[in-house]
């Protein structure tokens, strides 16, 4: 059962949200339950700390007179529940939602312009969450997660071509089908973490064997399925040929 948390400082709106959500859960038969409904972010946080697993959060962006705003509350919640669904409720149409989505992986935002649009938003959010959960159940994709400064990136393992170490630094560049970024780490640690699907073909390269398109034995180059190239060292030739 997914716990639903509501943080909204206006009492009247909070009541409407709660009643409507309860009604929706009942009508649609969702496996959810309102856990905490409060105007005080600390109360929400205390409950989240005690709970385990993911939850659904409807957070007001502007919490007047409280110690934190919706954004920092979201940041705190993410510490305990990295996979929960956060939906923001705001009075302003011009919410900086890209920022919310980027840092908090917020699912959506609802504008409380009128009661109708707010209710519609709440209903829509619940159905999106249910769809997401169902889609996730069918999917068994493995993800590689890595911290890039203040955010965590998740890349499907089968979309990673290879890792490249920049000489003289602790920088590793990930080359993928849809992602290219640098992070701080070491190839040796990655080797241990990712297991045998990845082969250390060269001092500076850790290659996803399944993504190799062809080998250039003469130039000691590997061409990946996305067209990128990397190198392999002489003594890895045998192992490489064996694996593909």
């Amino acid at each position: 059962m997914l716990p639903v948390y509501i943080c909204e400082d206006e009492e009247e709106i909070r009541r409407i949200q709660m009643e409507y959500l309860e009604k929706q859960i009942l009508i649609e038969g969702y496996d959810m339950k309102i856990a905490v409904c409060s105007g005080c972010p600390e109360k929400i946080l205390d409950a989240v700390k005690d709970a385990s697993g993911r939850g659904i959060y409807f957070l007001d962006v502007e919490l007047k007179g409280e110690s934190m705003d919706g954004f920092s509350l979201g940041q705190q919640i993410r510490k305990y529940d990295p996979r929960g669904f956060i939906i923001y409720v705001t009075a302003y149409k011009n919410l900086a939602f890209e920022t919310f989505r980027y840092h908090l992986e917020a699912l959506d935002y609802i504008v409380k312009e009128s009661m109708e649009t707010m209710k519609e938003g709440l209903r829509h959010s619940l159905s999106v969450i249910t769809e997401r959960m169902q889609a996730e159940q069918g999917e068994h994709r493995e993800f590689f997660s890595v911290k890039v400064m203040d955010v965590v990136k998740h890349v499907p393992v089968d979309e990673i071509m290879f890792f490249e170490a920049a000489p003289g630094t602790h920088r590793i560049a990930l080359h993928g089908t849809n992602d290219w970024f640098d992070f701080i780490g070491s190839l040796r640690e990655l080797e241990g973490q990712l297991g045998s699907r990845f082969l250390r073909t060269h001092r500076a390269y850790l290659v996803n064997v399944e993504q190799i398109a062809e080998l250039d034995l003469k130039g000691r180059e590997i061409r990946m399925k996305n067209g990128e190239r990397c190198l392999f060292s002489k003594n890895m030739k045998g192992q490489l040929l064996e694996r593909i």
Binding site: T99, Y102, H103, M149, D179, W180, F181
Partner: protein, 457 residues
């Protein structure tokens, strides 16, 4: 004095010299020596030690061989110490050698100065180290009095906020290089000059005072040059701000004009609605209200939003860049979703480089969407506690081979373009605290530039 005694003494002075250079480094760079990894941390202690011991051995050897009495050897030895110390500082702080050379030179001048003041006070002629009494005096001066004077001097420098002046000076390549070369001659001036003047029959103290007078004039001159440079920079910055303010006012006036037009329209619409409502046609009236809010949003709302987001950018260079790009986009009829949620004051990235990099990213996004229906560019600047993220996002209208875009000369439009991303990559790779991110997601092309703040590890 035996060789070992001198050797020991030289190790001590070598360590002291290096330590004082590190102190000056901390004052000027406002930064502590950084140990990145244990393996390197070991190197960072070990290598300077090896250096000090080798140097002490060499110096003891030179002294014993009476070679230090030769002016040329003395000067060469001074430079050797300076070079070695600069290399050590460069390794410890992870800064460019040129910067560290400057630090060592400053520290050296301060040390020589305090030493000279100290010995002028103690005696009026060079001390003869073979007489025990005078040797004691020499040791007292060298180990206690001159370090104390040096620290006092450093304290004054610190109080005068010399670090800031120094950093500003470094930003100006021309005067910085010239000044550094001039100041680098100080051992030559100090040892050679004093020798020369004494040869002319001047007393030792007199010659020292004369030499320091010259050095002070030089320092004052460079300080003046630095200040002038700073003033010019301030003037330029003011000019830029003035230009931006003008652009800003222009935008605001445009908005006011729109507002007036809207007010006019709105009066007409209101009367229309009034009639509809009077007739009892509520659906029509509601439609009117919807249209009106949408109109407002599309006409003024967007610009109003942009301006309020722009208000959170407190770094005037970036603000100027964004203003320029926003007005370019307006000309291209490209919408821009700008988000600056938290105030942005600056990042630890050279201003000119940051402007260039961000400019390249925005230009690329604009190029991709130009002329398309519903062309839109998303720009996000997010200042968090330990890092700042710049993110530029746009819809992709054709397939890009992302690994290719970093190559010089790659472009989807025309042949004379395509230096952008190659130079972007080159610039970004220069910084240890900057990580670039590129992604293709849900049909969007996303470029991120993440800059870590120095104090956050």
């Amino acid at each position: 004095m035996s060789f070992l005694e001198i050797f020991g003494y030289d190790i001590f002075t070598g360590l002291f010299g290096l330590a004082s250079d590190v102190c000056v480094g901390i004052v000027i760079l406002k930064n502590m020596p950084r140990g990145s990894r244990r393996k390197y941390a070991f190197c960072k202690v070990f290598l300077p030690l090896v250096y000090v011991v080798t140097l002490a051995f060499l110096m003891a050897f030179l002294y014993k061989g009476h070679l230090l009495r030769l002016t040329a050897v003395n000067i060469a030895a001074s430079y050797m110490v300076l070079l070695g110390n600069a290399a050590c500082i460069s390794m410890l702080f992870g800064e460019a050698f040129q910067t560290c050379w400057g630090i060592v030179i400053f520290s050296g001048i301060a040390k020589e100065f305090s030493g000279a003041v100290c010995f002028s006070l103690l005696s009026d002629r060079p001390l003869d180290l073979s007489i025990p009494n005078e040797r004691m005096l020499y040791l007292f001066g060298n180990t206690l009095m001159s370090p104390a004077l040096f620290l006092l001097f450093l304290f004054f420098l610190y109080k005068m906020k010399i670090g800031k002046v120094y950093c500003q000076w470094m930003e100006h390549k021309s005067s910085w290089g010239f000044g550094l070369i001039c100041l680098s001659t100080y051992p030559l001036l100090y040892i050679g000059g004093a020798e020369f003047l004494m040869g002319w029959g001047m007393s030792r103290n007199g010659s020292l005072i004369f030499v320091f007078l010259i050095m002070f004039v030089m320092l004052a001159l460079f300080n003046y040059m630095g200040l002038e440079e700073q003033q010019r920079k301030e003037f330029d910055a003011q000019q830029l701000i003035l230009k931006q303010q003008n652009a800003y006012i222009h935008t605001l006036e445009g908005m006011q004009e729109e507002m007036r037009r809207f007010r006019h329209d709105y009066k007409n619409m209101m009367s229309g609605m009034y009639l509809k409502a009077k007739e009892g046609d509520l659906t029509e009236a509601l439609e009117f209200i919807r249209e009106m809010t949408e109109d407002f949003d599309s006409q003024i709302g967007g610009q109003l939003r942009q301006m309020s987001q722009l208000g959170n950018v407190y770094m005037s260079e970036i603000k100027g860049l964004l203003l320029t790009k926003l007005s370019e986009m307006q000309k291209d009829q490209t919408a821009c979703e700008l988000e600056v949620m938290h105030p942005f004051y600056g990042a630890e990235f050279k201003t000119t480089d940051l402007c260039r990099c961000l400019g390249i990213l925005i230009d690329n996004a604009m190029d991709e969407v130009r002329g398309r229906e519903d062309a839109r560019v998303y720009i996000m600047i997010s200042s968090q506690e330990d890092c700042t993220t710049f993110r530029v996002k746009n819809l992709l209208y054709h397939k890009v081979d992302v690994p290719e875009i970093w190559k010089q000369g790659y472009s989807t439009r025309g042949t004379d373009r395509g230096t952008g991303l190659a130079s972007y990559k080159k610039t970004v790779d220069l910084y240890e605290n900057v990580l670039p991110v590129t992604a293709v997601k849900d049909g969007y092309f996303i470029q991120e530039l993440k800059i870590r703040k120095r104090n956050a590890e």
